[in-house]
Amino acid sequence: MIECTLTQYPIFIIDGGRRHAGASGVSESGPMDRTAFRLANQLLHQDVYTSALEVMGECRFVAHTSMSIAITGGNATITLATTLNNTLSTCSYKPDQVINLIAGDKFSIGRLQQGMRLVVGIAGGIDVPLFFDSRCGIMREKFGGLGQGKPILSGDRFAIGCYQPVSHEGEMPSDYSNQSSEYQPIISPSTGIAGVTEIDFVPNYQHAQFSLYARYLFTSQLMQVSQQSNRMGLRIHSNQAIPSIVKHESQALALGVVQIPPNGQPIVMGPDRQTHGGYPVIGTVPEYALDKLVQLTPNESFTFVPVNIEMAIAKYWMNLR
Protein backbone atom coordinates (compact mmCIF):
# COMPACT_ATOMS: atom_id res chain seq x y z
CA MET A 1 0.00 0.00 0.00
CA ILE A 2 1.28 3.44 -0.89
CA GLU A 3 -0.33 6.79 -0.17
CA CYS A 4 0.01 10.04 -2.01
CA THR A 5 -0.17 12.70 0.68
CA LEU A 6 0.24 15.71 -1.56
CA THR A 7 0.59 16.33 -5.28
CA GLN A 8 0.74 19.44 -7.39
CA TYR A 9 -0.68 17.80 -10.54
CA PRO A 10 -2.77 14.65 -11.07
CA ILE A 11 -0.59 11.51 -11.20
CA PHE A 12 -1.40 9.01 -13.94
CA ILE A 13 -1.13 5.24 -13.76
CA ILE A 14 0.66 4.11 -16.92
CA ASP A 15 1.65 0.83 -18.53
CA GLY A 16 2.15 -0.54 -22.04
CA GLY A 17 -1.29 0.76 -23.07
CA ARG A 18 -4.56 -0.88 -24.10
CA ARG A 19 -4.69 -3.80 -26.50
CA HIS A 20 -7.40 -4.41 -29.10
CA ALA A 21 -9.39 -1.39 -27.92
CA GLY A 22 -9.51 0.86 -31.01
CA ALA A 23 -12.49 -0.82 -32.66
CA SER A 24 -14.61 0.00 -29.57
CA GLY A 25 -13.62 3.64 -29.87
CA VAL A 26 -11.37 3.28 -26.82
CA SER A 27 -8.10 5.23 -26.65
CA GLU A 28 -4.79 3.35 -26.63
CA SER A 29 -3.30 5.30 -23.69
CA GLY A 30 0.12 4.44 -22.26
CA PRO A 31 3.16 6.43 -21.14
CA MET A 32 4.04 9.86 -22.55
CA ASP A 33 7.78 9.11 -22.32
CA ARG A 34 8.17 5.44 -23.23
CA THR A 35 11.96 5.47 -22.93
CA ALA A 36 11.76 6.63 -19.31
CA PHE A 37 8.94 4.15 -18.61
CA ARG A 38 10.95 1.20 -19.91
CA LEU A 39 14.06 2.33 -18.05
CA ALA A 40 12.23 2.56 -14.71
CA ASN A 41 11.11 -1.05 -15.07
CA GLN A 42 14.50 -2.20 -16.35
CA LEU A 43 16.16 -0.69 -13.28
CA LEU A 44 13.75 -2.67 -11.10
CA HIS A 45 14.50 -5.74 -13.21
CA GLN A 46 10.92 -6.48 -14.07
CA ASP A 47 8.79 -6.68 -17.21
CA VAL A 48 9.13 -3.38 -19.12
CA TYR A 49 5.34 -3.03 -19.37
CA THR A 50 4.76 -3.19 -15.58
CA SER A 51 2.48 -0.34 -14.47
CA ALA A 52 4.12 2.78 -13.07
CA LEU A 53 3.25 6.38 -12.18
CA GLU A 54 3.62 9.46 -14.36
CA VAL A 55 4.35 12.56 -12.29
CA MET A 56 4.46 16.16 -13.54
CA GLY A 57 5.52 18.12 -10.49
CA GLU A 58 6.08 18.15 -6.75
CA CYS A 59 4.55 15.25 -4.84
CA ARG A 60 4.85 13.38 -1.55
CA PHE A 61 4.22 9.74 -0.74
CA VAL A 62 4.15 7.46 2.28
CA ALA A 63 5.07 3.80 1.77
CA HIS A 64 2.90 1.64 4.03
CA THR A 65 4.80 -1.53 3.07
CA SER A 66 8.39 -2.19 2.03
CA MET A 67 8.98 -1.61 -1.65
CA SER A 68 11.51 -0.64 -4.28
CA ILE A 69 11.05 2.30 -6.60
CA ALA A 70 13.00 3.87 -9.47
CA ILE A 71 12.42 7.39 -10.79
CA THR A 72 13.34 8.26 -14.39
CA GLY A 73 12.64 10.72 -17.18
CA GLY A 74 13.99 14.02 -15.92
CA ASN A 75 15.79 15.67 -13.09
CA ALA A 76 14.34 16.45 -9.67
CA THR A 77 15.43 16.13 -6.06
CA ILE A 78 14.13 12.98 -4.42
CA THR A 79 14.10 13.09 -0.63
CA LEU A 80 13.61 10.05 1.56
CA ALA A 81 12.72 10.34 5.24
CA THR A 82 13.20 7.18 7.28
CA THR A 83 12.47 6.68 10.96
CA LEU A 84 14.78 4.05 12.49
CA ASN A 85 14.93 3.46 16.25
CA ASN A 86 12.92 6.62 16.82
CA THR A 87 15.42 8.77 14.95
CA LEU A 88 14.46 10.50 11.75
CA SER A 89 17.04 10.51 9.01
CA THR A 90 16.68 12.10 5.60
CA CYS A 91 18.74 11.59 2.52
CA SER A 92 18.37 12.72 -1.05
CA TYR A 93 18.67 10.69 -4.22
CA LYS A 94 19.18 11.39 -7.87
CA PRO A 95 16.89 9.90 -10.51
CA ASP A 96 17.72 6.74 -12.47
CA GLN A 97 18.53 4.47 -9.54
CA VAL A 98 16.69 1.98 -7.38
CA ILE A 99 15.53 3.29 -4.00
CA ASN A 100 14.49 0.76 -1.35
CA LEU A 101 11.80 1.84 1.07
CA ILE A 102 10.61 0.27 4.29
CA ALA A 103 7.14 0.59 5.78
CA GLY A 104 6.58 4.09 7.09
CA ASP A 105 9.15 5.77 4.83
CA LYS A 106 8.14 9.09 3.35
CA PHE A 107 9.53 10.14 0.01
CA SER A 108 9.02 13.33 -1.87
CA ILE A 109 9.82 14.50 -5.38
CA GLY A 110 10.74 18.15 -5.79
CA ARG A 111 10.09 20.55 -8.65
CA LEU A 112 11.34 19.26 -12.00
CA GLN A 113 14.66 20.88 -12.90
CA GLN A 114 14.75 19.26 -16.30
CA GLY A 115 11.98 17.77 -18.42
CA MET A 116 8.22 17.91 -17.98
CA ARG A 117 7.35 14.52 -16.49
CA LEU A 118 8.91 11.76 -14.43
CA VAL A 119 8.13 8.07 -14.27
CA VAL A 120 8.00 6.46 -10.83
CA GLY A 121 8.53 2.72 -11.36
CA ILE A 122 7.42 0.49 -8.52
CA ALA A 123 8.56 -3.12 -8.09
CA GLY A 124 5.41 -5.16 -8.71
CA GLY A 125 3.53 -2.30 -10.32
CA ILE A 126 0.19 -0.89 -9.19
CA ASP A 127 -2.65 -3.23 -8.32
CA VAL A 128 -5.73 -1.77 -9.98
CA PRO A 129 -8.14 -3.60 -12.33
CA LEU A 130 -7.21 -4.27 -15.95
CA PHE A 131 -9.38 -3.05 -18.81
CA PHE A 132 -8.38 -3.96 -22.35
CA ASP A 133 -5.23 -5.49 -20.85
CA SER A 134 -4.17 -2.17 -19.31
CA ARG A 135 -4.32 -0.28 -16.01
CA CYS A 136 -4.31 3.17 -17.65
CA GLY A 137 -7.25 5.41 -16.93
CA ILE A 138 -8.64 8.39 -18.85
CA MET A 139 -11.11 10.70 -17.11
CA ARG A 140 -13.33 11.25 -20.15
CA GLU A 141 -13.67 7.49 -20.73
CA LYS A 142 -14.74 6.84 -17.13
CA PHE A 143 -12.90 3.56 -16.59
CA GLY A 144 -9.42 2.41 -15.57
CA GLY A 145 -6.89 4.16 -13.35
CA LEU A 146 -7.96 4.34 -9.71
CA GLY A 147 -11.53 3.63 -10.86
CA GLN A 148 -13.84 5.60 -13.21
CA GLY A 149 -10.72 6.72 -15.09
CA LYS A 150 -9.48 8.78 -12.15
CA PRO A 151 -5.82 9.72 -11.74
CA ILE A 152 -4.11 9.80 -8.32
CA LEU A 153 -4.72 12.96 -6.32
CA SER A 154 -3.67 14.14 -2.86
CA GLY A 155 -4.91 11.71 -0.22
CA ASP A 156 -5.35 8.68 -2.52
CA ARG A 157 -4.07 5.27 -1.38
CA PHE A 158 -3.47 2.35 -3.68
CA ALA A 159 -2.12 -1.18 -3.50
CA ILE A 160 1.04 -2.34 -5.20
CA GLY A 161 1.25 -5.63 -7.07
CA CYS A 162 3.28 -8.74 -6.54
CA TYR A 163 6.91 -8.27 -7.54
CA GLN A 164 8.01 -10.71 -10.20
CA PRO A 165 11.64 -10.16 -11.16
CA VAL A 166 12.67 -11.10 -14.69
CA SER A 167 16.08 -12.32 -13.62
CA HIS A 168 16.79 -15.93 -12.76
CA GLU A 169 20.08 -15.15 -11.11
CA GLY A 170 18.71 -14.43 -7.68
CA GLU A 171 19.96 -10.86 -7.52
CA MET A 172 18.28 -8.25 -5.42
CA PRO A 173 16.91 -5.22 -7.24
CA SER A 174 19.26 -2.95 -5.27
CA ASP A 175 22.24 -4.50 -7.02
CA TYR A 176 21.14 -2.75 -10.16
CA SER A 177 21.40 0.75 -8.85
CA ASN A 178 25.00 1.02 -9.99
CA GLN A 179 24.29 -0.11 -13.51
CA SER A 180 22.31 2.90 -14.58
CA SER A 181 25.33 4.98 -15.54
CA GLU A 182 25.00 3.94 -19.18
CA TYR A 183 21.70 5.76 -19.44
CA GLN A 184 21.89 8.99 -21.40
CA PRO A 185 19.07 11.39 -20.55
CA ILE A 186 16.98 11.79 -23.65
CA ILE A 187 16.50 15.50 -23.08
CA SER A 188 19.71 16.54 -24.72
CA PRO A 189 20.07 19.24 -27.33
CA SER A 190 21.16 17.71 -30.59
CA THR A 191 22.99 19.08 -33.62
CA GLY A 192 21.67 21.77 -35.95
CA ILE A 193 21.02 25.22 -34.52
CA ALA A 194 22.77 25.54 -31.16
CA GLY A 195 20.41 24.81 -28.28
CA VAL A 196 17.56 23.80 -30.53
CA THR A 197 16.25 20.26 -30.27
CA GLU A 198 15.50 18.43 -33.49
CA ILE A 199 12.33 16.37 -33.50
CA ASP A 200 12.14 13.72 -36.21
CA PHE A 201 8.91 13.23 -38.11
CA VAL A 202 8.02 10.85 -40.91
CA PRO A 203 6.04 12.53 -43.74
CA ASN A 204 2.95 10.38 -44.38
CA TYR A 205 -0.86 10.45 -44.25
CA GLN A 206 -1.88 13.65 -46.19
CA HIS A 207 1.68 15.07 -46.40
CA ALA A 208 1.70 15.09 -50.20
CA GLN A 209 -1.53 17.11 -50.31
CA PHE A 210 -0.08 20.02 -48.31
CA SER A 211 1.32 22.87 -50.36
CA LEU A 212 5.06 23.16 -50.81
CA TYR A 213 4.88 26.37 -48.78
CA ALA A 214 3.08 24.61 -45.90
CA ARG A 215 5.66 21.82 -45.89
CA TYR A 216 8.43 24.43 -45.95
CA LEU A 217 6.92 26.34 -43.01
CA PHE A 218 6.54 23.11 -41.05
CA THR A 219 10.24 22.29 -41.11
CA SER A 220 11.87 25.72 -41.37
CA GLN A 221 10.72 27.56 -38.26
CA LEU A 222 11.35 27.30 -34.54
CA MET A 223 8.42 25.90 -32.57
CA GLN A 224 7.51 25.47 -28.91
CA VAL A 225 5.27 23.05 -27.01
CA SER A 226 2.34 25.05 -25.64
CA GLN A 227 1.34 24.99 -21.99
CA GLN A 228 -2.12 23.78 -23.03
CA SER A 229 -0.72 20.37 -23.89
CA ASN A 230 -1.91 17.23 -22.18
CA ARG A 231 -1.83 13.45 -22.56
CA MET A 232 -4.30 13.66 -25.46
CA GLY A 233 -2.18 15.94 -27.56
CA LEU A 234 0.72 18.38 -27.52
CA ARG A 235 -0.31 21.74 -28.89
CA ILE A 236 2.57 23.27 -30.80
CA HIS A 237 3.10 26.98 -31.14
CA SER A 238 4.56 28.23 -34.42
CA ASN A 239 4.95 31.91 -35.27
CA GLN A 240 3.75 31.46 -38.81
CA ALA A 241 0.61 29.37 -39.17
CA ILE A 242 0.87 26.37 -41.46
CA PRO A 243 -1.75 26.59 -44.22
CA SER A 244 -3.98 23.55 -43.79
CA ILE A 245 -5.92 21.61 -46.39
CA VAL A 246 -9.56 20.57 -46.51
CA LYS A 247 -10.28 17.04 -45.39
CA HIS A 248 -13.80 15.94 -44.62
CA GLU A 249 -13.61 12.42 -43.31
CA SER A 250 -12.23 11.36 -39.96
CA GLN A 251 -9.34 8.93 -39.95
CA ALA A 252 -7.75 6.49 -37.52
CA LEU A 253 -4.89 8.20 -35.66
CA ALA A 254 -1.55 6.51 -34.92
CA LEU A 255 0.55 7.55 -31.91
CA GLY A 256 2.41 10.76 -32.72
CA VAL A 257 0.41 11.91 -35.76
CA VAL A 258 0.75 15.65 -36.39
CA GLN A 259 -2.63 17.21 -37.13
CA ILE A 260 -2.85 20.62 -38.76
CA PRO A 261 -6.18 22.24 -37.77
CA PRO A 262 -7.56 25.26 -39.66
CA ASN A 263 -5.71 27.70 -37.33
CA GLY A 264 -2.40 26.31 -38.62
CA GLN A 265 -0.97 25.45 -35.20
CA PRO A 266 0.09 21.76 -35.20
CA ILE A 267 -1.16 19.24 -32.62
CA VAL A 268 0.96 16.14 -31.99
CA MET A 269 -1.35 13.38 -30.77
CA GLY A 270 -0.29 11.65 -27.54
CA PRO A 271 -1.17 8.30 -25.93
CA ASP A 272 -4.65 9.39 -24.71
CA ARG A 273 -5.68 10.64 -28.19
CA GLN A 274 -9.13 9.81 -29.49
CA THR A 275 -9.16 6.88 -31.91
CA HIS A 276 -10.24 9.02 -34.88
CA GLY A 277 -9.75 12.65 -35.86
CA GLY A 278 -10.91 14.88 -38.67
CA TYR A 279 -8.00 17.29 -39.13
CA PRO A 280 -5.50 16.63 -41.94
CA VAL A 281 -2.26 14.97 -40.86
CA ILE A 282 1.16 16.06 -42.19
CA GLY A 283 3.18 13.17 -40.70
CA THR A 284 3.95 11.13 -37.60
CA VAL A 285 6.49 11.71 -34.83
CA PRO A 286 8.04 8.31 -34.08
CA GLU A 287 8.09 7.07 -30.50
CA TYR A 288 11.75 7.89 -29.77
CA ALA A 289 11.27 11.50 -30.94
CA LEU A 290 7.96 11.81 -29.09
CA ASP A 291 9.80 10.85 -25.90
CA LYS A 292 12.02 13.90 -26.47
CA LEU A 293 9.13 16.20 -27.43
CA VAL A 294 7.00 15.44 -24.33
CA GLN A 295 9.93 16.50 -22.11
CA LEU A 296 10.37 19.95 -23.71
CA THR A 297 9.33 22.87 -21.53
CA PRO A 298 7.24 25.67 -23.10
CA ASN A 299 10.28 27.95 -23.42
CA GLU A 300 12.47 25.42 -25.24
CA SER A 301 12.50 25.69 -29.03
CA PHE A 302 12.62 22.82 -31.47
CA THR A 303 12.38 22.18 -35.18
CA PHE A 304 10.70 19.33 -37.04
CA VAL A 305 13.15 17.35 -39.17
CA PRO A 306 11.82 15.01 -41.86
CA VAL A 307 13.24 11.47 -41.81
CA ASN A 308 12.18 8.52 -43.90
CA ILE A 309 10.52 5.53 -42.30
CA GLU A 310 13.62 3.35 -42.66
CA MET A 311 15.65 5.86 -40.67
CA ALA A 312 12.87 6.12 -38.07
CA ILE A 313 12.78 2.34 -37.68
CA ALA A 314 16.56 2.17 -37.28
CA LYS A 315 16.55 4.92 -34.65
CA TYR A 316 13.59 3.33 -32.88
CA TRP A 317 15.48 0.06 -32.38
CA MET A 318 18.70 1.84 -31.44
CA ASN A 319 16.76 3.65 -28.70
CA LEU A 320 15.20 0.39 -27.48
CA ARG A 321 18.56 -1.30 -26.95
Partner: protein, 262 residues
Protein backbone atom coordinates in the same frame (compact mmCIF):
# COMPACT_ATOMS: atom_id res chain seq x y z
CA UNK B 1 -13.33 -7.30 -62.93
CA UNK B 2 -14.09 -3.61 -62.48
CA UNK B 3 -14.43 -4.28 -58.74
CA UNK B 4 -10.93 -5.71 -58.60
CA UNK B 5 -9.44 -2.69 -60.31
CA UNK B 6 -11.24 -0.28 -58.02
CA UNK B 7 -10.16 -1.91 -54.76
CA UNK B 8 -6.77 -0.32 -54.53
CA UNK B 9 -5.09 -0.94 -51.17
CA UNK B 10 -1.89 0.86 -50.18
CA UNK B 11 0.01 -0.58 -47.22
CA UNK B 12 2.91 1.27 -45.57
CA UNK B 13 4.65 1.67 -42.21
CA UNK B 14 3.71 5.06 -40.69
CA UNK B 15 5.45 4.58 -37.33
CA UNK B 16 8.04 1.95 -36.35
CA UNK B 17 5.17 -0.21 -34.98
CA UNK B 18 2.13 0.77 -37.08
CA UNK B 19 1.06 -0.26 -40.58
CA UNK B 20 -1.36 2.05 -42.38
CA UNK B 21 -3.57 0.27 -44.94
CA UNK B 22 -5.45 2.73 -47.12
CA UNK B 23 -8.42 1.49 -49.12
CA UNK B 24 -8.93 3.42 -52.36
CA UNK B 25 -12.18 4.53 -53.97
CA UNK B 26 -15.11 2.12 -53.80
CA UNK B 27 -18.71 2.36 -54.96
CA UNK B 28 -20.36 3.34 -51.69
CA UNK B 29 -19.54 3.90 -48.03
CA UNK B 30 -21.57 1.01 -46.67
CA UNK B 31 -19.69 -1.65 -48.56
CA UNK B 32 -16.31 -0.08 -47.99
CA UNK B 33 -16.87 0.06 -44.23
CA UNK B 34 -17.99 -3.55 -44.31
CA UNK B 35 -15.04 -4.61 -46.41
CA UNK B 36 -12.67 -2.82 -44.00
CA UNK B 37 -14.41 -4.38 -41.00
CA UNK B 38 -14.12 -7.86 -42.45
CA UNK B 39 -10.53 -7.35 -43.56
CA UNK B 40 -9.79 -6.51 -39.93
CA UNK B 41 -11.22 -9.83 -38.76
CA UNK B 42 -9.39 -11.63 -41.57
CA UNK B 43 -6.04 -10.16 -40.44
CA UNK B 44 -6.77 -11.17 -36.84
CA UNK B 45 -7.54 -14.68 -38.05
CA UNK B 46 -4.14 -14.99 -39.69
CA UNK B 47 -1.72 -13.03 -37.53
CA UNK B 48 -3.37 -12.31 -34.16
CA UNK B 49 -0.29 -13.30 -32.18
CA UNK B 50 1.71 -10.41 -33.64
CA UNK B 51 -0.92 -7.73 -33.14
CA UNK B 52 -1.52 -5.14 -30.41
CA UNK B 53 -4.60 -3.66 -32.12
CA UNK B 54 -6.27 -3.03 -35.45
CA UNK B 55 -8.18 0.25 -35.56
CA UNK B 56 -10.69 0.49 -38.41
CA UNK B 57 -11.21 3.86 -40.07
CA UNK B 58 -13.57 5.11 -42.79
CA UNK B 59 -10.95 4.49 -45.46
CA UNK B 60 -8.17 2.68 -43.66
CA UNK B 61 -7.01 0.09 -41.18
CA UNK B 62 -4.33 0.97 -38.66
CA UNK B 63 -2.50 -2.24 -37.77
CA UNK B 64 -0.49 -1.92 -34.53
CA UNK B 65 2.15 -4.55 -33.88
CA UNK B 66 3.71 -5.83 -30.68
CA UNK B 67 7.26 -4.43 -31.09
CA UNK B 68 9.06 -7.69 -30.35
CA UNK B 69 7.00 -9.53 -33.01
CA UNK B 70 7.75 -7.21 -35.93
CA UNK B 71 9.42 -8.42 -39.09
CA UNK B 72 9.17 -5.31 -41.27
CA UNK B 73 9.31 -6.68 -44.80
CA UNK B 74 7.54 -9.97 -44.12
CA UNK B 75 4.70 -8.33 -42.17
CA UNK B 76 4.19 -5.59 -44.76
CA UNK B 77 3.94 -8.16 -47.51
CA UNK B 78 1.76 -10.53 -45.54
CA UNK B 79 -0.75 -7.80 -44.64
CA UNK B 80 -0.77 -6.57 -48.23
CA UNK B 81 -1.26 -10.10 -49.56
CA UNK B 82 -4.02 -10.96 -47.05
CA UNK B 83 -5.94 -7.73 -47.70
CA UNK B 84 -5.75 -7.99 -51.47
CA UNK B 85 -6.66 -11.65 -51.37
CA UNK B 86 -9.66 -10.97 -49.14
CA UNK B 87 -10.83 -7.97 -51.16
CA UNK B 88 -10.61 -9.99 -54.37
CA UNK B 89 -12.40 -13.00 -52.91
CA UNK B 90 -15.21 -10.92 -51.50
CA UNK B 91 -15.78 -8.96 -54.69
CA UNK B 92 -15.71 -12.18 -56.70
CA UNK B 93 -18.16 -14.07 -54.49
CA UNK B 94 -20.57 -11.27 -53.64
CA UNK B 95 -21.46 -9.69 -56.91
CA UNK B 96 -24.76 -8.62 -55.37
CA UNK B 97 -23.82 -5.62 -53.27
CA UNK B 98 -27.25 -5.41 -51.65
CA UNK B 99 -26.81 -8.75 -49.93
CA UNK B 100 -23.49 -7.64 -48.49
CA UNK B 101 -24.94 -4.56 -46.89
CA UNK B 102 -27.64 -6.48 -45.03
CA UNK B 103 -25.48 -9.32 -43.75
CA UNK B 104 -23.26 -7.41 -41.37
CA UNK B 105 -20.23 -8.74 -39.55
CA UNK B 106 -22.19 -8.95 -36.32
CA UNK B 107 -24.45 -11.72 -37.72
CA UNK B 108 -27.40 -10.01 -36.12
CA UNK B 109 -30.65 -8.75 -37.51
CA UNK B 110 -31.87 -5.19 -37.27
CA UNK B 111 -31.55 -3.61 -33.82
CA UNK B 112 -34.49 -1.35 -33.10
CA UNK B 113 -33.62 1.60 -30.89
CA UNK B 114 -36.28 3.73 -29.18
CA UNK B 115 -35.72 7.48 -29.39
CA UNK B 116 -37.38 10.24 -27.41
CA UNK B 117 -37.88 12.89 -30.09
CA UNK B 118 -38.32 15.70 -27.58
CA UNK B 119 -38.37 19.36 -28.52
CA UNK B 120 -35.40 20.28 -26.34
CA UNK B 121 -32.80 20.11 -29.07
CA UNK B 122 -32.48 20.65 -32.82
CA UNK B 123 -35.50 18.70 -34.11
CA UNK B 124 -37.58 21.74 -35.00
CA UNK B 125 -34.60 23.57 -36.45
CA UNK B 126 -33.62 20.59 -38.61
CA UNK B 127 -37.22 20.14 -39.77
CA UNK B 128 -37.30 23.79 -40.84
CA UNK B 129 -33.98 23.55 -42.68
CA UNK B 130 -35.17 20.44 -44.53
CA UNK B 131 -38.59 22.04 -45.14
CA UNK B 132 -40.36 19.12 -43.51
CA UNK B 133 -42.93 19.00 -40.77
CA UNK B 134 -41.74 17.59 -37.47
CA UNK B 135 -43.84 14.43 -37.86
CA UNK B 136 -42.62 13.90 -41.43
CA UNK B 137 -39.03 14.30 -40.34
CA UNK B 138 -39.47 11.70 -37.59
CA UNK B 139 -41.33 9.34 -39.90
CA UNK B 140 -38.71 9.61 -42.65
CA UNK B 141 -35.82 9.34 -40.19
CA UNK B 142 -37.33 6.22 -38.60
CA UNK B 143 -37.75 4.60 -41.99
CA UNK B 144 -33.99 4.58 -42.63
CA UNK B 145 -31.99 1.40 -42.05
CA UNK B 146 -28.61 2.60 -40.80
CA UNK B 147 -25.39 0.56 -41.01
CA UNK B 148 -22.77 0.84 -38.29
CA UNK B 149 -19.50 1.99 -39.87
CA UNK B 150 -17.35 2.01 -36.76
CA UNK B 151 -16.93 3.00 -33.11
CA UNK B 152 -14.75 6.07 -32.83
CA UNK B 153 -14.23 9.50 -31.29
CA UNK B 154 -15.12 8.14 -27.81
CA UNK B 155 -15.86 4.67 -26.39
CA UNK B 156 -19.00 3.38 -28.05
CA UNK B 157 -19.73 6.41 -30.25
CA UNK B 158 -21.11 4.83 -33.41
CA UNK B 159 -20.94 6.39 -36.85
CA UNK B 160 -23.92 5.27 -38.93
CA UNK B 161 -24.18 5.43 -42.69
CA UNK B 162 -27.36 5.43 -44.75
CA UNK B 163 -28.49 9.04 -44.26
CA UNK B 164 -30.13 10.22 -47.53
CA UNK B 165 -28.50 13.20 -49.27
CA UNK B 166 -31.31 15.59 -48.37
CA UNK B 167 -30.58 15.07 -44.64
CA UNK B 168 -26.94 16.14 -45.01
CA UNK B 169 -26.34 19.28 -42.92
CA UNK B 170 -22.99 20.84 -41.98
CA UNK B 171 -22.00 20.71 -38.33
CA UNK B 172 -23.18 23.45 -35.96
CA UNK B 173 -21.11 26.63 -36.36
CA UNK B 174 -20.55 26.67 -32.59
CA UNK B 175 -20.37 23.23 -30.98
CA UNK B 176 -22.54 22.61 -27.92
CA UNK B 177 -20.58 22.44 -24.69
CA UNK B 178 -22.86 19.70 -23.41
CA UNK B 179 -24.47 17.05 -25.57
CA UNK B 180 -26.53 14.66 -23.40
CA UNK B 181 -25.72 10.95 -23.16
CA UNK B 182 -27.74 8.99 -25.70
CA UNK B 183 -28.16 11.92 -28.10
CA UNK B 184 -29.10 10.73 -31.60
CA UNK B 185 -27.57 13.29 -33.92
CA UNK B 186 -26.75 13.95 -37.56
CA UNK B 187 -23.94 15.83 -39.30
CA UNK B 188 -22.75 15.70 -42.91
CA UNK B 189 -23.39 12.22 -44.29
CA UNK B 190 -23.59 10.51 -40.91
CA UNK B 191 -25.87 9.76 -38.05
CA UNK B 192 -24.30 9.11 -34.64
CA UNK B 193 -25.21 8.34 -31.05
CA UNK B 194 -23.32 9.95 -28.16
CA UNK B 195 -22.67 7.22 -25.55
CA UNK B 196 -21.97 9.75 -22.81
CA UNK B 197 -22.28 13.43 -22.10
CA UNK B 198 -19.68 15.43 -24.07
CA UNK B 199 -19.17 18.56 -26.14
CA UNK B 200 -20.29 18.14 -29.74
CA UNK B 201 -21.27 19.91 -32.95
CA UNK B 202 -23.90 17.59 -34.40
CA UNK B 203 -27.62 18.32 -34.83
CA UNK B 204 -29.47 16.47 -32.07
CA UNK B 205 -32.76 14.94 -33.16
CA UNK B 206 -33.60 13.03 -29.99
CA UNK B 207 -32.28 11.04 -27.06
CA UNK B 208 -32.18 7.28 -26.47
CA UNK B 209 -31.55 5.24 -23.35
CA UNK B 210 -30.01 2.38 -25.32
CA UNK B 211 -26.62 1.50 -23.76
CA UNK B 212 -23.79 1.79 -26.31
CA UNK B 213 -20.79 1.05 -24.10
CA UNK B 214 -20.53 -0.73 -20.76
CA UNK B 215 -17.05 -1.51 -19.49
CA UNK B 216 -18.42 -4.25 -17.20
CA UNK B 217 -19.54 -6.40 -20.15
CA UNK B 218 -17.19 -8.90 -21.80
CA UNK B 219 -17.65 -6.95 -25.06
CA UNK B 220 -18.04 -3.35 -23.88
CA UNK B 221 -19.13 -1.79 -27.20
CA UNK B 222 -22.69 -2.75 -28.17
CA UNK B 223 -22.23 -2.55 -31.93
CA UNK B 224 -19.64 -3.61 -34.47
CA UNK B 225 -19.07 -2.63 -38.09
CA UNK B 226 -21.89 -3.88 -40.28
CA UNK B 227 -24.64 -4.04 -37.66
CA UNK B 228 -27.98 -2.61 -38.80
CA UNK B 229 -29.91 -0.11 -36.72
CA UNK B 230 -33.38 1.37 -37.12
CA UNK B 231 -34.86 3.98 -34.81
CA UNK B 232 -38.47 4.23 -33.63
CA UNK B 233 -40.23 6.92 -31.58
CA UNK B 234 -40.43 6.12 -27.86
CA UNK B 235 -43.82 7.74 -27.62
CA UNK B 236 -46.37 7.96 -30.46
CA UNK B 237 -45.74 11.12 -32.44
CA UNK B 238 -48.67 13.44 -32.11
CA UNK B 239 -49.17 15.41 -35.28
CA UNK B 240 -50.80 18.63 -34.10
CA UNK B 241 -49.10 19.97 -31.01
CA UNK B 242 -48.19 23.59 -30.69
CA UNK B 243 -44.78 24.37 -29.25
CA UNK B 244 -46.40 26.03 -26.21
CA UNK B 245 -48.29 22.87 -25.33
CA UNK B 246 -45.24 20.61 -25.70
CA UNK B 247 -43.24 22.92 -23.50
CA UNK B 248 -45.78 22.17 -20.81
CA UNK B 249 -45.82 18.44 -21.44
CA UNK B 250 -42.08 17.89 -21.87
CA UNK B 251 -41.03 18.62 -18.27
CA UNK B 252 -43.79 16.30 -17.04
CA UNK B 253 -42.47 13.41 -19.11
CA UNK B 254 -38.89 13.86 -17.95
CA UNK B 255 -39.83 14.28 -14.31
CA UNK B 256 -41.94 11.11 -14.31
CA UNK B 257 -39.04 9.25 -15.96
CA UNK B 258 -36.62 10.39 -13.29
CA UNK B 259 -39.02 9.30 -10.59
CA UNK B 260 -39.36 5.85 -12.08
CA UNK B 261 -35.59 5.36 -12.58
CA UNK B 262 -34.88 6.34 -8.99
Amino acid sequence: MTHLVKQKIVVQWVTPTTLHCEFGELDCTVNKALLIGRCRLYLYEHMAIKLADIVPGFNELLVQFIPSEIDYFADLHQVERLLKQYAMDSSATTSNTASVSTQGTGKRGITHIPVDFGMDYDLVDVAQRLTLSRTDLIAQFCAIEFSVILNGFMPGFIYLSGLPDKFHLPRLATPRLKVPAGAVAIADAYCGIYPQCSPGGWHILGVTEHVLFDIERSTPASFVTGDIIQFYPLTPVMPVITPILTAKIAPKITSSKEASSD
